[in-house]
């Protein structure tokens, strides 16, 4: 073997060694990011009990809180997004008037999920019905399927959305039960804002929760219970 060859071999060896030394610290950077939070579980089913006796006609605080929390304009045109709205109903024979908030009822068997052609409309394990706007193509079948008229379509480009509530043109949206707050252990904005505490939020599946206990003790109804969608939002005093 010539001297030249040995030198060459030596050079390659040292180069490789040096390369290994240079790369080694980089390898340490391949540390994985650890998730701290757990996935939502089917042991939980979030729901609400709305006491219409406590809901005052003309009071709009829950709707205002919803609009502020989610960055909605608050407009009521057919092309404006309304996640929550107040409804006044009157029984014609007796003249009894009732006021109640209406929004996505977070059905156990949601028709919006059944009809969605892309799988964008879905129900989380904890019962919250959402639109995955990454998959939504804006076909609006879900809006037609919803018996509660709970969903809205975003017609115009939006600016300065809330960091926790991404919204955008060309997709369908509705009440998320303030999922970003619920995941942090907080109450939905409407439940917190109601001055008469007419909206009780909690876990329907936990027998010891305040909402489950109240559902056991008072008469409550599901709206359009005949469709057997088993909504998570229940009304008392209708």
């Amino acid at each position: 073997m010539s001297d030249h060859d040995t030198q060459r071999r030596q050079f390659l060896k040292t180069s490789l060694g040096a390369a290994a030394v240079a790369i080694a610290p980089g390898m340490l950077l391949f540390d994985t990011a650890h998730g701290k939070t757990e996935a939502d579980s089917s042991k939980v089913r979030w729901g609400m009990l709305i006491d219409t006796a406590q809901c005052k006609t003309g009071c709009n605080d829950c709707v205002t809180a919803c609009n502020k929390e989610n960055g909605l304009s608050g407009g009521t045109l057919p092309t404006d997004s309304q996640w929550m709205r107040k409804i006044d109903i009157k029984d014609i024979s007796s003249g009894r008037e009732t006021s109640l908030p209406m929004m996505c009822q977070h059905c156990e068997e949601p028709p919006c999920v059944d009809v969605c052609p892309t799988g964008a409309s879905f129900k989380r394990a904890d019962g919250i019905v959402l639109v995955d706007r990454h998959r939504c193509i804006g076909c609006r079948y879900c809006m037609m399927a919803c018996p509660y008229k709970a969903r809205s379509f975003v017609h115009e480009p939006l600016h300065d959305q809330k960091p926790d509530v991404p919204r955008g043109k060309g997709t369908v949206e509705s009440c998320t039960l303030c999922v970003h707050r619920v995941d942090k252990g907080q109450q939905p904005a409407c439940a917190q804002a109601c001055p008469n505490k007419a909206i009780l939020f909690g876990n329907l599946n936990d027998a010891n929760s305040e909402i489950a206990q109240k559902l056991r003790s008072v008469a409550s109804v599901q709206i359009r219970a005949d469709m057997q969608l088993n909504p998570g939002i229940r009304y008392q005093g209708l």
Partner: protein, 122 residues
């Protein structure tokens, strides 16, 4: 001597890769490294974001560290609090250079939370 030359070579080659002549100069905001090193992030941030978005939307697993919100919080410009407002903004600068359309911010907030809160109060 040879050791020195080979060491220099090894250090210079990645350096040459890293500093491409026309690479965009970005306004990195507060900057800093919280997930991985910058070179790795340049190449792979989209995979982290897509993984995180599905976990967060569908399962409610919200890993704050790799959330888009957290990226914006640090990397939004200190001048206008945005990651897309100007030619050299953190996201827009590189995406323009690479000619990759970025549509995250049609829905997601492109400004840091403080800026939006201040705007609400005005």
């Amino acid at each position: 001597m040879k050791l020195l030359v080979s060491l220099l070579l090894c250090l210079c080659i990645p350096l040459a890769w890293a500093t491409e002549a026309n690479a965009p100069k970005l306004d990195i905001g507060k900057g800093g490294q919280c997930v991985r090193d910058p070179q790795w992030m340049r190449k792979n941030h989209m995979h982290l974001l897509i993984h995180q978005r599905d976990e967060a939307v569908r399962k409610g697993i919200r890993d704050e560290q790799i959330s888009l919100k957290n990226c914006v919080e640090c990397h939004a410009s200190l001048k206008d609090d945005s990651v897309i407002a100007r030619e050299d903004s953190f996201c827009a600068g590189c995406h323009r250079y690479e000619a990759v359309k970025i549509d995250c911010f049609e829905c997601h907030a492109s400004k840091r939370r403080v800026a939006l809160v201040n705007k609400d109060e005005k």
